[in-house]
């Protein structure tokens, strides 16, 4: 029995090594193969730095928006009473089913110069597509579901007993939320925020369509990686990829630490 157990373990770990660990290790190796100096130069190149901060800026807007609205939507789904919960739930989950490129396209069709609101936006001097607002929008769409999907089950499991008790004791809506509900769901929210941030930082396809990919202006870090690659600047591409990979590993660590807090059943 333990022979086959060993066999299974070997197959599983082998698969993971070939698919996951190997490639990631390889990238770190290749990046630092010729020392830190070239990497540092690549990472501190002006366009790279600009791309980095642009990514941060977009994330800094999209994530709080999705967090606030995400918690609101979760409350609506689990505590609200209205028809159309199914519609709400479907709309929230839709970004999981849509290709990022299609998200970009759909946004262009509404907010682009030939889109539904094109004329109105131009008339008011607002540029969405090919500019940062469009990129924020695209990022928000693709990272929409996470906070809702992590918070709603926690709300459901929590039940309304404590909130009802608070109501009978005279607490109003906001107070109940702030002091009873929010503390109870906070780890679910935090986990959702971590996932949202990771997704937002890494977004590529939708932002690619919507941004015009203009170097030094509308290139986020992921777009920069692609740009470098296409210009045969492998070091630049790898270096930025490593920055993103390190951020991803930080996300992984955060996710793992939070796993126990949120009592998710994948902690082993």
């Amino acid at each position: 029995m333990s022979f086959s157990k060993l066999g299974l373990r070997t197959i599983a770990l082998g698969y993971l090594a070939l698919l996951l660990v190997g490639p990631v290790a390889m990238i770190f190796y290749r990046t630092f193969e010729h020392g830190i100096a070239p990497v540092w130069d690549a990472v501190t190149a002006p366009n790279a730095v600009h791309a980095f901060w642009l990514s941060i800026e977009i994330v800094a807007i999209a994530v709080p928006l999705n967090t606030a609205f995400g918690v609101g939507m979760a409350l609506l789904l689990e505590r609200g009473s209205f028809k159309g919960k199914v519609l709400l739930s479907t709309l929230v989950d839709l970004p999981f089913a849509i290709s990022p490129v299609v998200v970009g396209l759909a946004l262009v069709l509404v907010y682009g110069k030939t889109g539904w609101f094109g004329d109105w936006l131009i008339g008011h001097g607002i540029q969405v597509i090919f500019s940062v607002p469009g990129m924020v929008l695209a990022t928000a769409v693709v990272s929409l579901p996470f906070v809702v999907r992590e918070t709603a089950p926690v709300l459901r499991e929590l039940g309304t007993d404590a909130e009802q008790a608070a109501a009978t004791l005279g607490a109003g809506a906001w107070l109940t939320f702030r002091r009873i509900t929010l503390p109870a769901i906070r780890w679910g929210v935090v986990y959702g925020v971590v996932l949202t941030t990771a997704r937002a930082l890494g977004e590529f396809g939708a932002v690619s369509v919507v941004s015009g990919r203009i170097e030094g202006q509308t290139q986020t870090l992921p777009l920069y990686v692609q740009g470098q690659f296409e210009n045969f600047n492998i070091t630049g591409a790898y270096a930025s990829a490593v920055v993103l990979a390190l951020l991803a590993l930080a996300t992984l660590i955060a996710m793992n630490l939070l796993t126990r807090r949120t009592r998710r059943r994948t902690a082993v």
């Binding site: 599983a12 698919l19 009473s81």
Partner: protein
């Protein structure tokens, strides 16, 4: 005592308390909240999807059909669907196996391995492509070069969809009652029989769920494919890349049409899953 108290302690209390204080209570706040959420979802999801459908159908059914059945579009769509199907089948097998090893086996470093499973969720897709290229591309130290081949599509899709089946199956395995397996053993069943007749049937709903999510993800995948596949039309150009190229050529109706096909494929699979799981839980659970 509560007559002059909070809004929730009103005369209509019993029903109101069911959606306590939060959204029913401050009536105005509740409506405002719902309104804002409505606007947010419209701006982000509802309007864009509507515009997409409108564009796809803007020339009528004929135009739609024409865009979708053009040779390059057809090639891209077929390639996407076939590759996604292959990849999810592989995932069903390896994902379940990995989940099994993570739950039932013990070895040093298991917790790290378990954490690593989520890497494809955390890593930007473009970086996934770069990373795979480093090991399996032109300068591969292993001598395996799949760049610009269909195999590279499978590779990238396997990478990005790895976590779905594993994470779907794990909780079920963890909660599974071992006494079912012991009962089967006491009745004379060997390990393979137990696997086939007891364990796998119990895991099937989770595997199906993971497979559906993998498929939806694979069908729309873009970032990890752009570098490693070379995006060669008729050879390695998948649906999402075709859409992108059509957008670049400002051929928006074509892009929208194929987008709708891809979206439909994902939604059909996800819908089928929901349907099956509802049927099952009515029937068995």
């Amino acid at each position: 005592m509560s007559a002059t108290g909070s809004p929730t302690a009103s005369a209509a209390a019993p029903r109101r308390l069911q959606a306590p204080a939060l959204l029913g209570g401050g009536r105005a706040a509740g409506v405002l909240g719902k309104g804002m959420i409505g606007v947010y979802l419209s701006v982000l999801v509802l309007l864009p999807v509507a515009a997409l459908l409108a564009k796809a159908g803007s020339g009528g059914l004929d135009a739609f059909w024409r865009e979708v059945s053009g040779p390059q579009a057809q090639a891209a769509i077929k390639l996407t669907l076939v590759m996604s199907a292959i990849v999810v089948a592989v995932n069903a097998f390896f994902g379940t196996l990995i989940a099994w090893v993570l739950v039932r086996d013990e070895f040093p470093g298991k917790r790290t391995v378990n954490a690593l499973i989520d890497l494809p969720f955390a890593l930007p897709t473009i970086v996934a492509g770069v990373v795979l290229l480093a090991l399996y591309g032109t300068n591969s130290p292993l001598g395996i070069d799949v760049a610009f081949t269909r195999a590279s599509i499978a590779l990238a899709l396997l990478f990005v969809t790895l976590p779905f089946v594993v994470r779907s199956v794990q909780p079920v395995l963890i909660e599974m009652d071992r006494s079912m397996e012991e009962a089967a053993a006491s009745l004379g069943a060997g390990p393979l029989t137990i696997l086939r007749r007891i364990v796998l049937p119990t895991l099937t709903p989770a595997i199906v769920s993971g497979v559906a999510l993998s498929f939806a993800r694979a069908v729309g995948e873009f970032g990890s494919l752009v570098l490693i596949t070379g995006n060669l039309p008729f050879k390695t150009e998948v649906g999402s890349v075709y859409v992108f190229s059509q957008i670049q050529d400002e051929n928006l109706p074509a892009a929208a049409a194929v987008s709708v096909v891809l979206l439909a494929a994902a939604l059909i699979v996800l819908g089928a899953l929901t349907f099956v799981s509802r049927w099952r839980s009515k029937h068995v659970l």
